[in-house]
């Protein structure tokens, strides 16, 4: 997919679900064209470093081991700490601290793992919002919801889709009818572009006799940078979802999608009943594969022929998104 901006945007990006990184395990990752290693210490802290040992370049994520705060290289046993420094060389009395591996800032929240990516290597410049603390008028608690992983989560790997494409879904209400077979057209009610892009889209009440402008369902959307967004539904349904897209290289991305479904009062099971679970999966989790069937073959149009109602919110979203593209695209 050709896009007029970099595949190396700045911000917080999803790299997996927390449960995919058990204590004491080491895993290779690949994002932003870089090889990474993730490892969780016995204390439960998840660390992400550049993958290749600075000694002779072995990949720490293939057969490396966790040792205390360090990941130990499978080639010569050198230990690298969570700050990226060499902490020991097993056959010498001093570590070699002449060079450091890049240590990627990690944020784990609501069963997900995020890393901060800045193409120039700078530290995080803002905090990632939390799916439970947003929006202000609907604070909630994780305990009020069933778990999202693994039953109500999905990951698509190496799809030919730039994060800007999935981001623009936030301004797009009309596609629900055509892509997702929604019977009622939602309306974009408000939007605001600041550090984050916030929007409210409503599905009008179905009854024609109801003359109020009441909405049956409102989708509160929060795009947390170009990396992804949260949606909190208000009205007839109260579920929450997160959808993030993370570039793997300059052509493909991994996509992560979770749904948190409100817990039945008094139910302390981790997941909804099988019948409800199946319905959520079919009606809501499935929608991403419908979108992907469009996005996989889409091209990016810099100057779209807009419908009247789309022009302003799309324009605002595209203008807002530019702040996260700090480097030039690869020619």
């Amino acid at each position: 997919m050709q896009v007029p901006f970099t595949w190396k945007p700045t911000g917080w990006f999803a790299v997996g679900f927390s449960a995919e990184f058990p204590i004491g395990e080491v895993r290779p990752l690949e994002y932003f064209g870089q090889h990474l290693v993730a490892y969780r210490t016995e204390e439960g802290k998840l660390n992400v470093l550049d993958a290749h040992c600075l000694h002779l370049g072995a990949h720490l994520g293939h057969h490396g081991k966790v040792n205390g705060d360090c990941v130990e290289c499978p080639y010569h046993g050198w230990g690298w700490g969570s700050d990226g420094e060499n902490k020991y060389i097993p056959y010498e009395d001093k570590p070699n601290v002449s060079k450091k591996l890049r240590s990627w800032p990690v944020d784990e929240r609501h069963e997900w793992v995020f890393v901060w990516h800045d193409p120039k290597g700078g530290p995080p410049r803002w905090e990632l919002p939390d799916v439970w603390n947003w929006p202000d008028h609907m604070p909630s608690d994780q305990g009020d919801y069933y778990r999202a992983y693994p039953e109500l989560s999905i990951k698509y790997e190496r799809e030919p889709v730039h994060p800007q494409i999935s981001l623009e879904n936030a301004a797009d209400t009309e596609h629900f009818h055509y892509v997702h077979d929604a019977t009622v057209h939602p309306t974009l009610m408000e939007w605001k572009a600041d550090l984050f892009y916030e929007s409210r889209a409503g599905w009008p009440k179905r009854s024609r006799t109801d003359r109020s402008d009441g909405m049956a369902l409102i989708n509160n959307g929060l795009s947390c940078g170009v990396g992804g967004s949260y949606s909190v539904f208000e009205g007839n349904w109260h579920y929450r979802l997160a959808f993030f897209t993370t570039p793997v290289d300059d052509e493909t991305s991994d996509m992560f999608y979770s749904i948190w479904w409100p817990r039945e009062p008094g139910d302390d099971a981790p997941v909804p009943s099988p019948a409800i679970l199946q319905r959520i999966r079919e009606r809501y989790l499935q929608t991403l594969s419908d979108d992907l069937e469009i996005w996989r073959y889409q091209i990016y149009i810099e100057t779209p022929a807009f419908a009247q109602r789309d022009a302003r919110p799309y324009g605002a979203l595209r203008k807002w998104a530019r702040q996260f593209y700090e480097i030039e695209p690869v020619a």
């Binding site: 290779p28 000694h55 070699n96």
Partner: protein, 60 residues
Amino acid sequence: VPDDIRERVVKQYIQTLWDDLEIWRHQVYVETPSFAKQDAKPYGALRKWAKQFYEIPPEA
């Protein structure tokens, strides 16, 4: 070769190459490694010696 000897040779010697390969497949070449003290001289000498066999420049 008797089976028991063959099995031992494979396990003790041939297996070592597969172990190495598991490293090499994912390795990158580091031009200026952080060496351990004991490594710096022999590695340096080996890399310098090997240069004579690379007579043409790499393709870009």
